[in-house]
Symmetry: C2
């Protein structure tokens, strides 16, 4: 059976996974992302190491790359990636040459949505909104059962929809972007401000240094009933719901799927989001308010979706090649 590798390259880490045709992860490999102020080659070295380790002794039939950045509509170039050194670079062809293997490329949130659609929480849905909450917010639109990429391949950049006029400055250069209020960063920022002002276990969790506070620490504290951590989730989950209500007003999906690292918090995050959605959504009494569900595939979703994309492309190529061979042999059946 052919081996397909998906590799997800985010702002902090590179995760490669060998994935079966049913979406099962056989083996993973992890590297640290070298950063955005390095030569592109260093990032590509890290990708290569991760892919090789995930493949083990087998040769992959095709490799899919899920990149945290803008990927062009053709799936050839990374136009811009805030946390990576790539600037309008033809990454797909370069890596295909380096690896001597077929390579496909898409945005990480699109890949994660693809995995949820094939094997996870959006399975069977025709129209879905997928929101990926990590450090920031990524996203994807599912339309008629497939990920809709948009005219520039940039559909689903939900994190930079403005929700507060003249609001918090964002790395993108804008202000008041949704991800400044609903993300792992926003969660930690909320909690940090309260440390030293209210009694909270977070004080000890971060060793007295609020700068060391992370999202998972806040999640653990909220699970233990810490009031500050719970308030942080109320705030971030509420903002999640406000933005989701905007997307539902615009797109009217069947289901909303929330993935990414922060979704590990489950209902701590999703319950305030559902409440805000019901409150904010126009015409809520006259429509089906879509369920807001947690993504099923966890942190491997991007890599699994990238492998799935590679399998689909490779299968298509294989089917066409087989059809050509069959036609050449004159054994093709008439329909």
């Amino acid at each position: 059976m052919a081996l397909f590798i998906g590799v997800d390259i985010g702002g902090t880490k590179v995760l490669a996974a060998a994935v079966t045709s049913t979406g099962r992860v056989l083996r993973t490999a992890l590297r640290t992302t070298p950063g955005r102020r390095v030569e592109s080659r260093l990032v590509e070295d890290a990708l290569t190491e991760a892919v090789e380790e995930a493949a083990g002794l087998r040769r992959p039939a095709a490799i899919g790359i899920a990149a945290a950045g803008f990927v062009d509509a053709q799936g050839e170039r990374v136009r811009f990636a805030p946390h990576l050194p790539w600037r309008d670079e033809g990454v797909r062809a370069r890596l295909a040459e380096r690896w001597s293997a077929p390579v496909v490329l898409d945005n990480d949130a699109n890949c994660a949505a693809r995995a949820e659609l094939a094997y996870g929480a959006a399975s069977g849905a025709q129209d879905a909104v997928v929101v990926t909450m990590g450090t920031g917010i990524g996203g994807a639109i599912v339309l008629d059962g497939a990920v809709h990429r948009g005219y520039n391949g940039m559909a689903g950049e939900y994190g930079h929809m403005q929700v507060v006029p003249d609001g918090r400055p964002c790395e993108c250069g804008g202000t008041g972007c949704w991800e400044q209020y609903a993300s792992g960063n926003a969660l930690a920022r909320f909690a940090r401000k309260r440390i030293g002002q209210e009694p909270t276990v977070l004080d000890a969790a971060c060793g007295g240094d609020p700068a060391q506070l992370t999202g998972p620490m806040v999640t653990d504290a909220a699970r233990a009933g810490d009031a500050v951590a719970l308030a942080a989730f109320e705030s971030v989950g509420g903002w999640l719901g406000v933005g989701v209500a905007n997307l539902v007003a615009a797109f009217d999906p069947e289901v909303v799927v929330v993935g990414g690292g922060l979704s590990a918090a489950g209902d701590l995050l999703l319950e305030p989001a559902r409440a805000a959605l019901r409150e904010s959504l126009v015409g809520a009494p006259h429509r089906t308010v879509p369920p807001v569900t947690r993504a099923a595939l966890g942190p491997e979703a991007g890599a699994v979706g990238a492998a799935d994309l590679a399998r689909e492309r490779f299968r298509t190529v294989g089917t066409r090649a087989r059809a050509r061979r069959r036609a050449a042999r004159g054994t093709g059946q008439r329909r």
Copy 2:
């Protein structure tokens, strides 16, 4: 040649139009919408009169209704319409019976988008965002060359996306909805506040009573160079651009079409919107920023689109009926 009628029922008026298969309007008829606190029958009487007048002595082959409200996914019921008495009513079947003719029903903004796609500013586009600016904001999404209606038939309700937290109260029950900042109402509200505070021709235009000020008065004054009217367009156009940037971040369309009564102001409205879009849109230097163009069909777009929908449905029915007759006669050709 078969005659198709489209009838657009808005909060203030009913417009029926007899439309050719190339989108040309042959004849129109206008009635006043009786309001929302009347019996449904009165509204349906007005519709009937308008349709009969537009049809003249000919019998329509089918009639399309464009309604300013939430229409269900099946196109059978008006779930809710803020300015009409219909509340979850099976309008399509009732009017088909009353008129003894095939009737189709959709949301007015969807119909207008359909007309722009078939004959207007979105002609040839695969993916488009259509924003309809009148008293409030309506809208539609075009995806893969067709109007996307959504799971509940409610996609494109852009006007009630929240752009200002705890902002101006909206008729929908929410606060800070986009249409509170970018609409005909918002334009008049902005100008009204300045009357009596700054020198402006609007003072005379409204006869000294700011409550009488309308959108078209502001447009006329802006065309004449009045500073207050121009500032009103800067504000409303700027807010239009901020909301459009959010929609472009989410959908990445090929083109943005702005229609509705306020679009008659043309570049007075669209230039500030384009500037705000360029400024607000994430990754603008790395993508094609979509053109923001004025709708081509004017105030008849909803009726033209409704007639087009009626023609499409009727044509489908006709084709199927012919196919059945052919099969019954045994003269069907094998493919």
